[in-house]
Symmetry: C2
Subunit: 221 residues, 2 copies
């Protein structure tokens, strides 16, 4: 089965499923550039679109009444964010670095999902992956020491960036703290301690070399 929607100003093929599975699909998407620290949408905004990251890093987060922030996830190249069950966005999305994203209209898509097995399966698999990530994050937040949180964070981003030995951190210490449920000072101190222990090296603040992956993994299960 093949479906095409009306073509918008910027027409971009749907690139976030294995090409073999959704060859026939095309969705109208609008390319957007967002400067670092700019908001893409706010908590409570109507969820008209969902997004795919082309370049840069995006964070989805919520704010507490006391002003603190919890970052739910960082979204990197190729990842989809902002797809909601209800009418509104439950979290805000903000650019961690300068970003390029594609905004897809949500309207119509939900019907399409159930008209084509392949697209439906992809979406379902996406949803299940989100659940697993959220649960993994819960586990970390609920039961990890600062060292466990930091080491899990570094290993996760090393994997996602594809580089096995060096992690380029797009996000600030504050972002890391808000993702892991720590303070900026504890993040800094823990990184320093890991460096003193010879587990990592910090050639610069935003660059981490993983020197002893075994030790890093050893902190967790």
């Amino acid at each position: 089965m093949s479906v095409s929607l009306s073509v918008a100003a910027n027409h971009v093929p749907l690139p976030w499923a294995p090409p073999a599975e959704v060859d026939g699909f095309e969705l109208s998407g609008v390319v957007m550039h967002i400067a670092a620290e700019r908001q893409i949408y706010a908590e409570g905004d109507e969820a008209r679109c969902f997004y795919k990251v082309v370049s840069g890093v995006v964070r989805t987060c919520r704010f507490l009444n006391d002003g603190r922030r919890q970052i739910d996830a960082f979204h990197m190249e190729g990842e989809v964010f902002g797809f909601e069950a209800g009418a509104d966005h439950r979290m805000a999305a903000e650019a961690v670095s300068d970003c390029t994203v594609i905004a897809y209209r949500r309207r119509g898509l939900e019907t399409m999902v159930f008209q084509d097995d392949r697209l439906g399966r992809w979406f379902f698999s996406h949803a299940m992956t989100c659940i697993e990530q959220a649960r993994e994050h819960s586990l970390l937040l609920g039961r990890g020491s600062a060292a466990q949180k930091i080491s899990a964070f570094l290993l996760e981003f090393a994997r996602r960036e594809g580089c096995e030995c060096t992690v380029e951190l797009a996000m600030s210490r504050q972002d890391i703290a808000d993702y892991l449920g720590l303070t900026i000072e504890t993040v800094s101190r823990t990184l320093s301690q890991l460096e003193r222990d010879g587990v990592i090296a910090l050639p610069s603040a935003r660059r981490v070399a993983l020197k002893d992956r075994r030790a890093l993994k050893g902190f967790n299960a």
Copy 2:
């Protein structure tokens, strides 16, 4: 559209979607009784079935290498658990109290989901609800004080049990602790403190009366 699968020994209509939406559907389900504290499936077991709670309470949880346990969720009457993206269960499921559940074969269902819009939509909505719950749980685990965690827990269960003023706790203090990322002593102390503050009453260990919902809500956002 209406679909019927081969009828198993115990044939039970699929009851976990609004009746109006999946009237035509029937799935073969096997009714199971599980004694309190018995395991329904283990972490890593092949995910042949998913389950619906008929009565009692079920917990889904994971064990860490140091022996500690993180409870991901409690599942109550009418709720579905054990539906996985991959081939295996990522968490164990155990009976908190004596339970009755219905086990549905997973095989065949995934195809059905994409053959009928209504069933598909229900499943998708179920998945999205799971994501929101997992994120809510992350927020609580990452940023809450003991009092915030306990009050959020009580309000959540008051809502789910339908009773607005008294919560009947099926689970032990240890279960609560493992759900909230606390120790059993802190759970106990926090409940005692809330009682001293006149926010709740504890007529018995497993029964909590919510005396001041405003104060309970006040701990959180």
